[in-house]
Each structure stands twice: as C-alpha cells, then as structure tokens.
C-alpha cells in the first residue's frame, strides 16, 4: 500500500537543540518587521486612511501616460495608476481629499467626468470612496479585533492548559503577527480590512497548530512521569510531525489556487495566508516549543522528583 508521508514515521529529531537558533532567528525577523512597520511603513489601503479607488476598463490598451497627464491635473493631488489583469484594466487611486466627507464624493464625480470626456468608452467597474471618519473607525476596530484576539487566545489556552502554555502560545502568536506585518511592509501589499482578516486567520491557524503540539505535550506529561521536559517536548513534536506537516499541506493546497487564480481582490489575501501558513507551522516547532521549555523547566513536573537534564535517550523510561 502506497502512502504519501511528508515525514518518515519514527523520526527522532532533536528539535530542542536548535532552540536558541530558532528563537534568535525569529526575534531578529520580528524586530526587523517592526522596524519596517515604522520605516518605510505599510501601504495602507483606503479602508484605513480614506481616499478613492476607481477600477476602469479602457476600450483599447490603456494609455498610461495620457491617463496620468489628464488625471493629475484635476487638482486632486497625486494620482496612482496601476495596471492589473488585462492591459485594459487600470486601477486609479487618489489619496483622501482634505476636507469633509462630501469632498471625497465630489472628487469621484470629477474623475468620472474626466474619464468620460477624454477617454470615451471607458467602463467604470468599481468605485470605492472612504471618508476620514469611517476610515478612522475601521482602523480602530481592526486593531481592537487583533488585540482582543490575542487576549482571548491567552485566556483560552491558560484555561485549558497551564499558564506556561498560554504565555508560550501568545508570545509565539505575537512573533507570527509581527512577521506577517513585516511581509506587508516588504511586499507593499495593501494593508486594509482584508489584511486584518488575513492576520486573524493566520492567528487562528497558528494557534490551532500550537494547540495540537501542546496537547501532545500535556498527554505525554501524564504518560511519562520521569522523562525530562526537553526530551518530552522533542518526542511530542516528532509524534505530531506528520500531522503538523499534513495539515499545513492541506491548508496550503487549498489556498494555492486562490493565490494563483483568485482574482485581484483575493490573490493578495491568499499570498499573505500562504506566508502565514509557513510561519505558523515553523513557529509551532521552533518557537512555541522552546518557549514552553524555558517557561516550564522545573515547573511542569510537579509532584515528581526533579531530574537533571540529560542527553540520554528517552526510550529508557517508556512503558
């Protein structure tokens, strides 16, 4: 019987040997991400800063120089033009117009009138205009959702496991999220409401992965009362390795077509998720587990004689 295995059975990889390397690499990447978040910063979408986006389809191949020349003289500030999909599709972006909400509406009218006048036959396929009050609220709510999600995860895992698990999961989660934000900064993908959804999804996926590994650690803590924590965590990761990789694989496979053919709106979202799946999977092994080891050493083995950490093979204590 042929079975596709992503990792051989009975692996005995000493993951915890690489714990410092894992944590350092992760911390460096996350710090870099935070730096990138402030400088040069994210490419905030109109959801969060307001502004105008118009998607137009010109009758022939879009004449970018002409479009730029005409649209930048409307007195609406810098115009950003971007081609996507076919050569006829143009994305026109203006920053939020200074002034009240009505000003955005007036600006939309101006752009539409200009397109109708000098680029006859142009089809307006999508219009989005967001004013200052709404974008401010959307941003606040988005950030609130992220913050609450982290707290909810901490509470849930603390309640279901021990505090060391909860703290380990949340620290890992924060490292994952910062890297994802770094991804946004590096790729210049728009940071908007969809990005919040993507980050929450990655958090959900990543936590899900941690829960599975932690679950096995907890189970093994009960089964092997004398095994040193370090060996026990290694054993747990090895035992769940096929599942961890398998689930990452299926989510990755489900996401991949979305990234390749999902259409403008979903493609960016899917690429971020693909990045998040890789980050979330690796952090289960290289970040969440080592943190648990640091936090739990000597504490998670209550009621048992402390054993000095040794490099002996764990098989000796198995029943």
């Amino acid at each position: 019987m042929y079975r596709l295995r992503l990792a051989p059975d009975d692996t005995d990889i000493k993951f915890m040997k690489g714990r410092y390397a894992g944590l350092i690499v992760s911390a460096v990447l996350s710090i870099l991400s935070v730096v990138l978040f402030f400088y040069p910063g994210l490419n905030y979408g109109i959801d969060f800063v307001g502004g105008i986006v118009i998607e137009a389809r010109t009758p022939a191949t879009a004449d970018f120089p002409a479009l730029r020349a005409k649209l930048s003289h409307l007195g609406l500030g810098q115009v950003a033009l971007q081609q996507f999909g076919t050569a006829q599709d143009v994305l026109i972006r203006f920053e939020r117009q200074p002034g009240g909400d009505q000003v955005q509406q007036a600006a939309v009218e101006k752009v539409k009138a200009e397109l109708a006048k000098d680029f006859a036959g142009t089809q307006i396929r999508r219009v989005e205009a967001v004013g200052a009050s709404v974008s401010g609220e959307l941003f606040r709510n988005g950030m609130l959702a992220l913050g609450l999600a982290v707290l909810a995860m901490l509470a849930y895992i603390w309640f279901r496991f021990e505090w060391q698990f909860g703290l380990g999961a949340v620290i890992t989660l924060i490292l994952d999220v910062t890297k994802t934000i770094g991804f946004y900064a590096v790729t210049d993908v728009q940071f908007n409401l969809t990005a919040i959804a993507a980050i929450l999804t990655i958090m959900g996926y990543s936590i899900n992965d941690k829960v599975v590994v932690y679950d096995r650690v907890r189970e093994n803590l009960r089964a092997y009362k004398r095994m040193p924590l370090r060996n026990l965590i290694d054993k747990s990761i090895n035992e769940t390795l096929n599942r961890t990789l398998g689930t990452s694989m299926t989510v990755f496979l489900a996401c991949l077509p979305l990234a390749l053919f999902g259409g403008e709106a979903l493609e960016e979202f899917a690429w971020v998720l693909l990045f998040g799946i890789v980050v979330g999977t690796s952090s289960s092994i290289f970040i969440a587990a080592p943190i648990l080891l640091f936090l739990g050493e000597g504490r998670l083995r209550r009621g048992n004689p402390q054993e000095p950490e040794t490099e002996t093979a764990p098989e000796a204590s198995e029943g």
Binding site: Y2, R3, L4, R5, D9, D101, Q102, Q123, I124, R125, R126, V127, E128, A129, V130, G131, S133, V134, L138, N141, G142, L144, A145, A149, M153, Y156, L193, T194, I196, A197, L200, T201, M203, G204, Y205, I207, N208, V211, V212, D215, R216, E239, R243, G246, T247, M249, T250, V251, L253, A254, C255, L256, P257, L258, F261, G262, G263, A265, L266, F269
Partner: protein, 536 residues
C-alpha cells in the same frame, strides 16, 4: 465511541440528506423556484454586492443641523412670545446647545418664566407621564436667561431624525425602482444603503443628497430687496437658477414665515406645460394645505410669492388669481430628469436633516461575475488538491475523509441557505479555507489510529483510541478558531463579516462531518470487513 445505535445512524444520515435538500435551491433560478410547491425548501444564499454587482453607501445624518434648526425655531418662538407679552429683551441668540437672551428689566423674570414654559414640550416617558422637559429654562436675577435642550431631548431628537431619515430614504429609493434595496440603521446616526445591480449610484446619491424641504413663502418688496440687507423676519435667498437662464434676480428677499410647506403635499408629478412645452412639476395639497394655500393666494393677489427648495428659490411667480383647488405647478427651467427627480423628492417627503455619503463602494456586475468565476474555479481546484492529497496519504480512510469533506461543504452551504446569509468574496475565500482546515480533524484522527496501530493495538482498539484521543485536540483547535471568527464578526464590517460567517459555520459543521460522519463510515467498514490490520 465505536457503537452507533440504530436511531443515531438514522439521525446522521438524516442530517446529511437534509443538507443536500437545503443546498439544492441554490442551483436553480429564482423564477424556477417560485414555480415549485411551497413546502419545498426554497431559501437561497444571497450574493453580496461584490459578487453580483451593486452599490454600498454609508450615509451620515447631520445631527448638528437638526439641533441648530430646533434652536433657531426656539429662538423665533421666544422672540414672538416676548413681543406679544411686551417684554423687553436684548442679545437674543443661540449657540450649539441653547438659546440665550438678556431681559431689559430683570423684574420681568417671573412673567418671562411663565410664558416661556409653554414652549417646552416633554420627551421620553409614556402615556402615563414621567417624561422630561425638552427644554430647561433658567433666568438669573440679573436678567440673563437661557433655554437649553436637555440631554434626553437631544438623544430623542437624534433617534427620531435617524428613523425618519430611513423612512424617507426608503421611499425615495423605492421611487427609483431599484430591486431589493436594503436600508438599515448603523450605529447611532448612520444609515447603510445597499443597492444590488446599481453600479453607478449617481442618481440615487443626487436624490439622497437633498433634504428637499419645500416651502411656499411671500416675498419682500423690491425696494427692500435692493438695499441688500434683510430686515428682521426676512432673509435673502439665492435663486436655484445658477446658470442665469432667466431674467430673474440672483437673490430674493423672502419672508421667513412659511405659509405652506411640502409636508402638506399629497402628490407631485412631472409634466409639461401645454403652452411652451417646458418641463414642470404638478403638485396637489391635502385639504389643510389646500385651504391654507387658498387663503394666502386670496389675500395676496397681484403679489409675488416664492417656491423655496432647500433654501434656494426655484421660482417666484406673481399670484394672478386665488388658487382654490389645492393644485398648482412649479416651473423652473427643468429638464425631464430634474423635473422627475423633484417630483420624486416631493412625493417622498423632506429629510429631517441633511445626509452625506461617507463611504461608497460600487462594483460593476461584470466584475462581480468575474469574481464569482475565479472564486469558484479556485474552490474547485483547491478542493481537488486536498482530496487527492488525502487519498494519497490515507488510502481508504482518506477517501472516507473526502466524503466527509464533501458533506462539510454541503452542510455549510445548507446552513448559509437556511439563514439566507450573504455570500461575499471574502466569504468564498472562507469556504475554501475551511475545507483546508476541516480535514485537519481527519488528519489528526488518522495519524492517531496509525500511531496506535503501530504500537500493536488491534484494529478496533486502535480506532477507538484514535477517535477518543484526537477528539479533545479537535475541540481545542476548533474552538480557538471560532473565538477569532466571533471577534472578526463583531468588529469587522461589511465584506469581512462574510468571511467570519462562512468560516464559523464551516468549522461547526466540520465537527459533525469529520468526527461523527467519518467515524460512522470507518466503523461500518470495520464491522463489515473485520480486517486483520487497518489500512493506515
């Protein structure tokens, strides 16, 4: 965990069959569904505006304007009350919360308090009383007085203004013949308008952008108008004829006193003038309005009066004869479109406060169709990849997991149909993502069974242990995701909510399909074949 009672098996099969039945309506057109007997399920998933094309407008009711108008009215009443009672006052004015004045003679204080009391209505409370004064009146011993709108009055006013606005917005949009518009209150003073199939909402925005307060008032004399300053009780209003197509003046001196207003109209229709072919709007008053209009025109024959819309004078005809029938017409250099729009506005009634569009998202129908197409292709490809992977990785049990996955998809669609939920583009992504995540449960179970088998357990014992041990993990893993999605649903807006909804129901139904349905299949197979070793 391996024993299923007979009724349990029937229930599981029943749920799956129900899932299929409730999903089916989505594959037929609405017209076809309407022709089927009523007892068949007919609920369908709604497509969001980003998938079917349409406009999403978020409107804000200008509350300061409502308060300002009430205060201006209050100030007028104070003036006339004082005048009738012959009480001297100075500095009568209003700020954003109160009307203030100073009595010339502080001795008039008690008398003033008495007559001003009549200006305040009550707000809140019930038929049995218990309401609060709308206005708090205070006059100091130095003669400085104020009428302040109470907190309750402000809240009450804003709630009523939003309610009225929603009603008027609904009427105006209904007049334009948009199919299935959705109009709902959002937050404290916002109105969400969703217009399926409308990708260029310019006309609707124009219709909603006017308060359409129509008033009929008398004009001041030309001599007074020429001075360029409005005497008390009058105001200078611009002409709506900005292009100066007619010979009329650019500004009119109009009396503040309103003789009749648009609230008394029962009908308004666009038409054309039989003599010069110009577009006009014919209107008809209700009986009270008709009587007032008749009185005013009878007493003012030969003098001009102004038809004022939103503080602009549309026209100022001279009254040639008393108008007794309660009917009239407005001419003001209309086009067919503008005459029709005005008629719509007059029929629907005036907004209590100006509305402004603070967020607009419009999607053309062909773009929506493109999005559906690529979304569905992506789902099909992603689904196939997952199915192939599961079959390769877990063989027969992988195939059973795939059957469970198909039912996961069907049940998710069934729940969405039953709730008549709205499927958005992010929602489609959510469905795809659920498929990837819900097989996680089966992977956990299969890996566990494999592990137990390798430890030397018998097929039955291995399967029992596999399901039992994996279950706690599955619950933990899924609950964490559900918590996230609840947050996203609560705090997210519009399209992102759709993502949270599909994932949540996907996860909930996967708990059933991946653990219960897959278990039933695997156990039935085990009992039937009684293999010496499990094919894991």
């Amino acid at each position: 965990m391996l024993y299923f009672t007979r009724w349990k098996i029937y229930t599981i099969i029943g749920v799956c069959v129900a899932g299929v039945i409730f999903t089916l309506p989505n594959f037929f057109s609405r017209e076809l569904m309407a022709g089927l007997p009523g007892w068949l399920p007919h609920r369908q998933i709604h497509l969001g505006l980003d998938l079917r094309g349409g406009s999403y407008l978020l409107l804000e009711v200008d509350m300061p304007a409502v308060v300002k108008e009430r205060l201006a009215g209050l100030q007028d009443s104070v003036r006339s009350q004082f005048r009738t009672a012959n009480i001297g006052y100075v500095n009568l004015t209003n700020d954003d919360r109160a009307v203030t004045f100073t009595l010339r003679d502080p001795k008039d204080r008690d008398e003033s308090l008495r007559i001003l009391k009549s200006l305040s209505g009550t707000v809140g409370g019930s038929a049995l009383g218990g309401g609060q004064d709308e206005v708090q009146i205070a006059i100091g011993s130095d003669g400085n007085g104020s009428l302040t709108l109470s907190e309750v009055a402000l809240l009450d006013k804003s709630a009523r203004a939003v309610e009225q606005s929603i009603e008027i917005v609904r009427r105006r949009i209904d007049e334009t013949g948009v199919n299935e518009p959705q109009i709902a209150r959002q937050g404290d003073h916002r109105i969400l308008v969703q217009l399926p199939g409308i990708d260029d909402p310019d006309r609707i925005k124009r219709l909603l952008g006017q308060t359409a307060k129509l008033t009929f008032r008398l004009l001041g004399s030309d001599a007074e108008a020429a001075s360029g300053r409005a005497p008390p009780g009058f105001e200078l209003l611009p002409s709506s004829d900005v292009d100066r197509r007619s010979a009329g003046p650019a500004r009119y001196l109009v009396r503040k006193r309103i003789e009749v207003d648009g609230g008394n109209l029962v009908d308004a229709r666009a038409g054309s003038n039989s003599q010069n072919g110009e577009w006009i709007v014919n209107f008809e008053f209700d009986s009270a309005g008709g009587r007032r209009f008749a009185d005013v025109t009878r007493n003012n024959v030969g003098r001009p009066f102004a038809i004022v819309l939103d503080n602009k004078v549309i026209s100022a005809p001279v009254i040639r004869e008393p108008i007794l029938g309660g009917r009239g017409q407005i001419s003001g250099h209309f086009t067919a479109q503008s005459a029709n729009d005005l008629a719509v506005l007059l029929r629907a009634g005036a907004l209590p406060a100006p509305l402004s569009v603070i967020e607009e998202r419009s999607v053309g129908p062909d773009l929506g169709a493109d999005a559906i197409r690529s979304g569905i292709y992506s789902i099909l490809i992603g689904f196939s990849l997952v199915v192939i992977y599961m079959a390769l990785a877990y063989g027969l049990f992988g195939l059973m997991a795939n059957v469970a996955l198909i039912f996961n998809l069907i049940l998710t669609l069934a729940v969405l149909s039953l709730l008549q939920a709205t499927l958005t583009l992010p929602g489609l992504a959510g469905i795809l993502l659920t498929l990837g995540m819900s097989v996680d449960a089966n992977i956990l179970i299969n890996e566990r069974i494999r592990e137990e088998t390798r430890k030397g357990k018998s097929p039955f014992a291995a399967m029992e242990a596999g399901f039992k041990r994996a279950f706690a993990t599955i619950v933990d893993a899924n609950l964490t995701t559900l918590i996230k999605m609840l947050l996203l649903f609560g705090l997210g807006s519009g399209p992102v909510k759709g993502f949270a909804v599909t994932i949540s129901f996907g996860i909930l139904t996967s708990m059933f399909t991946a653990t219960v349905l897959a278990r039933l299949m695997m156990v039935s197979w085990l009992r039937w074949k009684r293999p010496a070793a499990l094919p894991v």
